[in-house]
């Protein structure tokens, strides 16, 4: 049994419209110091999955090969790059996750058999010196609904 985290982001030469809109929102709401934001879907996949299988899922199912790229990591090993903070927002356990269910279903179609569970979320990379507490407040007020979601800040 292994657990993997897959984060999909737009390639660097493609404009990240969601990221740009979010940066404006940071400025608008008074979150200081954010220079840029990257945004993308995140997935937590678990099952009997070797890395090659996870890569196959990430590249063939979860990311659009033209505009997006996927990064794969084991959850505990995810580290923020220098000068940035990573935010992950996940649905709480027990809340229905149609996106996760669809990934589970579609994995079979691309020939990946070992996937037991898939949960969907959103990943954010905030560049700039915004503090963790201010960032958490911003996430709770702008990016998530604490009733059904939880946030991780790395």
């Amino acid at each position: 049994m292994s657990v993997w985290q897959v984060v999909v982001t737009v390639k660097s030469r493609v404009t990240d419209h969601h990221g740009e809109a979010l940066k404006k929102e940071c400025v608008h709401s008074g979150l200081k110091g954010v220079k840029s934001v990257r945004v993308g879907p995140a997935y937590e996949l678990s099952g009997n999955l070797p890395e090659t299988e996870v890569r196959r899922l990430a590249e063939r199912l979860l990311a659009d090969p033209v505009t997006q790229e996927a990064s794969i990591a084991v959850p505990g090993a995810v580290k923020a790059p220098a000068g940035a903070r990573l935010v992950r927002i996940w649905l709480k356990n027990g809340v229905a996750d149609p996106v996760g269910d669809t990934v589970l279903f579609a994995a079979k179609d691309v020939g990946v058999r070992g996937l037991d569970s898939a949960r969907s979320g959103r990943a954010y990379e905030f560049h700039g010196p915004a503090g963790a507490d201010a960032l958490r407040r911003f996430c709770e007020e702008h990016l998530m609904n604490p009733l059904i979601q939880r946030v991780e800040i790395l």
Partner: protein, 807 residues
């Protein structure tokens, strides 16, 4: 059996605490009735039985308030008191109007999941509108999406199933913004709720492949903590698929998604006040792809005659759906057969779960294998979970454990009738303040009104919805050469070989309620009908549907508003000959701040959704001005009716210090004057005499004319001295009142030079005023009552209107 051993011995107070503790939302009287029943049976109820009763007897499922016996006392503005007793509020008001009207085309009203009318003898149309207010306040995306998903299932579960062909959406929100001052009771800001709701409806409707064609949005401080989310669906079905039944021996088949812990206690939760600190288990997240898949299978199975009865799994989950279907026969259910999303659910959770995207079918045993095969071929899960029996009992077991064993007669007939009292007193109103002051003239007022988010362009929302899918939408929500004008009604094509079509529209004006809920309801009904007439709908074919939202009905003042509104529905519907075919109510739309104990309730709000037939779709009329040189006429009388008007709201916001309280009189409806006008207008449209037509509603005549001009990209000239007004308004000589009064039953119509003579001959003896003319110059010119011209650049008008709703 998990018996609540002490139940038979509890006092009424203990019973009430038990109801609260378990979130059953039952009153002490209702708990007492359950206790008496189980005392007579010589045993205590099981947990599951108590939960089943709570669901079936919930306000959401049983409409206890609308079915209550009500003693209503009201005082008019002169202090004269009137008293009226209703034995059953719904039966004696809304349903009575429909019964009295005896429209032969009303083929299934107030009994199925949707109201069904015959369209042309071959096909029938099913219409339903639902609210999903409490869930949307807490989790706007999931709440609004599942609201729409639920009403789509209502239509799929009407008769033997209607194909959804159009959706509608109407929302009421608080003023949009971020930051602490825009925080709502659930902790989210108004803007978050707005964005979540719009995207929830968008994603569900678009992914199901159903066009969202009609709607409205109201922004008002009253809805900050209690947003209202109305979602509607129109369905099409063969007329021979309207009747349904369940026979003993039929199998109980659950179709669609699996069961998880989602939305447990949704029905009872919606029958309670919204408070902070709600558990996440009440939240539902929709999966439109699952619903789309079973929709296709269901309609295929319907056409092959594989099942006899169907209903949707909504509030209360299996407990409501199965309990309702088996009412006449009795039913046995084995819960261990129900497919689960994950392990660990307790049996009562399986029974009550509101996991979305499920239907329950009554399948004759000989068709079971064919149905299961069809479902498997489309990758839709279907499971035989029990049998409709002839025992008249609801029996639910999990393996060997009997969870529920009680008579259907008690489950459906044992709920004691509520006896309620209601009061209403006409509020004190003052006359509308005199105009004056810098920046307070009619020129600024018109721009200010057009920029009010409620009036302003909703293009940002509308464009996110697919309103073209299925290829049936003839009149779209936005009209005119630049597809930006706010159309009065949308029109859907039913059959390719026919000129006929169906039009759909709505009316909602909650702010009028503060003046008088009676005239609020009458105005709303008139607006919905007027919108249909504006595009060319035959007024004699209109059917309507009500959705009431209010605060706590046990407060007599709140129930008084509902009673007055329901009475107006009866009186106006009867006068117009427009039967109500279905409806829904949502109470407890009030937020209780658990820190301060403060209760904040919405004004009683009625949404009327209307549909009617357009006999010749080639003669449809839109609201955009068509050609310079054409003549403009005002139909209907303008009265001094500015109470609750957009102008009044603008005035209050502009001069908060100059006028408190309620000022002006609320618009009334006079069917004897308006109805003949509607019929005449329809005749003129059939004779192709009308080039464009727009009803006067929010912002009155001036806003209507401005909208027509910007939709058509043409200028307009109008002389306000030519507008037909009442004698007192004429004597008063106030330009602002003529411009912005929201009197019902009025239209502005555009008539071509050639049609003018015939038009005037047709309208002879009716209230018509020669307002002015369409012009090429992009300007709006209105001559005021003193003969002075007020002028707006069309670009300024458009800028105000397009930029008003700041998302």
């Amino acid at each position: 059996m998990t018996a609540l051993a002490e139940f038979p011995a509890l006092t009424l107070d203990d019973l009430l605490s038990l109801s609260k503790e378990r979130g059953l939302s039952l009153s002490s009287e209702e708990m007492g009735a359950i206790q008496a029943r189980f005392r007579a049976a010589g045993r205590a109820p099981t947990e599951c039985e108590l939960e089943t009763l709570a669901q079936t007897w919930s306000e959401h499922c049983k409409h206890k308030t609308f079915r209550a016996a009500v003693v209503h006392v009201e005082k008019d503005e002169l202090g004269l008191e009137r008293r009226r007793e209703y034995k059953d509020l719904l039966k004696e008001t809304i349903v009575k109007a429909t019964e009295d009207l005896r429209r032969p085309w009303c083929i299934s009203v107030f009994k199925d999941n949707a109201g069904i009318v015959s369209y042309d003898g071959k096909d029938a149309l099913a219409l339903k509108v639902e609210t999903h207010n409490h869930p949307s306040a807490l989790e706007p995306y999931g709440g609004a999406g599942t609201g729409l998903g639920g009403v789509i299932r209502d239509v799929l579960g009407a008769g033997l199933g209607a194909k959804p062909i159009a959706n509608t959406d109407v929302f009421c929100f608080g003023p949009l913004g971020e930051g602490p001052e825009f925080k709502t009771g659930s902790g989210l800001t108004t803007r978050r709720i707005f964005h979540g709701v719009v995207s929830g409806v968008r994603d569900y409707g678009n992914r199901m492949g159903i066009p969202t064609v009609s709607g409205a949005v109201v922004f008002d401080e009253d809805f900050r903590d209690n947003p209202l989310v109305f979602c509607g669906t129109l369905g099409l079905m063969p007329v021979d698929k309207v009747a349904k039944e369940v026979r003993a021996g039929d199998r109980v088949v659950m179709l669609g998604g699996r069961v998880g812990r989602d939305g447990i206690h949704g029905a009872t939760f919606s029958s309670d006040n919204l408070t902070a600190g709600i558990p996440s288990s009440v939240v539902q997240i929709g999966n439109p792809i699952v619903e789309k898949k079973f929709m296709d299978v269901l309609l295929a199975a319907r056409d092959r005659g594989l099942y006899r009865g169907v209903t949707d799994c909504g509030a209360g989950g299996l407990s409501s759906a199965v309990g309702e279907m088996g009412e006449q026969t009795g039913v046995d259910v084995c819960l261990e057969k129900v497919p689960l999303k994950y392990e660990g659910l307790k049996p009562w959770e399986i029974w009550l779960s509101e996991s979305q995207e499920r239907m329950v079918l009554a399948v004759p045993p000989e068709n079971l294998s064919a149905l299961l095969k069809l479902c498997a071929s489309e990758d839709v899960e279907a499971t035989d979970i029990g049998e409709f029996t002839g025992t008249g009992r609801l029996r639910v077991r999990f393996k060997d454990e009997m969870l529920v064993d009680m008579e259907m007669a008690f489950l459906h007939g044992g709920c004691p009738k509520r006896r309620m009292s209601s009061t209403w007193s006409a509020p004190a109103t003052t006359s509308f303040p005199q105009p004056g002051g810098k920046g307070a003239g009619p020129k600024e007022a018109l721009l200010g009104i057009l920029a009010q988010p409620t009036v302003a362009s909703k293009e940002w929302i509308i464009r996110q919805y697919d309103h073209e899918v299925q290829g049936r939408t003839i009149l779209k929500p936005l009209v005119g050469p630049s597809q930006a004008g706010p159309g009065d009604a949308s029109v859907i094509w039913i059959r390719p070989d026919s000129e006929e079509a169906v039009a759909i529209s709505c009316g909602v004006s909650p702010h009028y309620s503060r003046w008088d809920p009676y005239w609020m309801a009458a105005s709303v009904l008139d607006e919905a009908v007027r919108n249909l007439v504006s595009v060319g709908t035959d007024p004699d074919t209109i059917a309507v549907l009500d959705n009431f939202c209010a605060g706590d009905p046990t407060n007599p003042a709140i129930l008084g508003e509902v009673v007055r509104a329901a009475q107006a529905c009866h009186d106006t519907a009867k006068a117009y000959g427009t039967p109500f075919i279905s409806g829904k109510d949502s109470f407890y739309n009030q937020f209780v701040d658990h820190k301060t104990g403060e209760k904040r309730a919405i004004p009683t709000t009625l949404l009327v959704t209307a549909m009617g037939r357009v006999l010749d779709a080639s003669k449809l009329v839109t609201m955009d001005l068509k050609k310079a040189g054409n003549w403009l006429y005002v139909l209907g009388e303008t009265r001094d009716e500015l109470g609750g008007s957009r102008y009044g709201i603008w005035w209050r916001e502009r001069f908060p210090s100059r006028g408190g309280g309620l000022f002006g009189s609320v618009p009334r409806v006079n069917p004897r004057e308006t109805w003949p006008l509607y019929e005449k207008l329809n005749e003129a449209m059939k004779n192709s005499l009308i080039a464009s037509c727009h009803d006067c509603s929010d912002g009155g005549l001036a806003a209507a004319l401005a909208e027509m001009a910007l939709a058509g990209g043409l200028g307009a000239y109008g002389d306000l001295r030519k507008v037909p007004v009442t004698a007192d308004l004429k004597a008063e000589g106030r330009t602002d009142k003529v411009m912005f009064s929201e009197s019902n039953g009025r239209f502005i119509v555009e008539v071509g030079a050639r049609a003018r003579r015939e038009f005037l001959a047709l309208f002879k003896g009716m209230v018509v005023g020669a307002l002015g003319q369409v012009r090429e110059t992009p300007r709006l010119d209105l001559v005021d009552l003193k003969g002075k011209t007020i002028s707006w650049k069309l670009a300024d008008v458009e800028k105000a209107w397009r930029g008003g709703m700041k998302v």
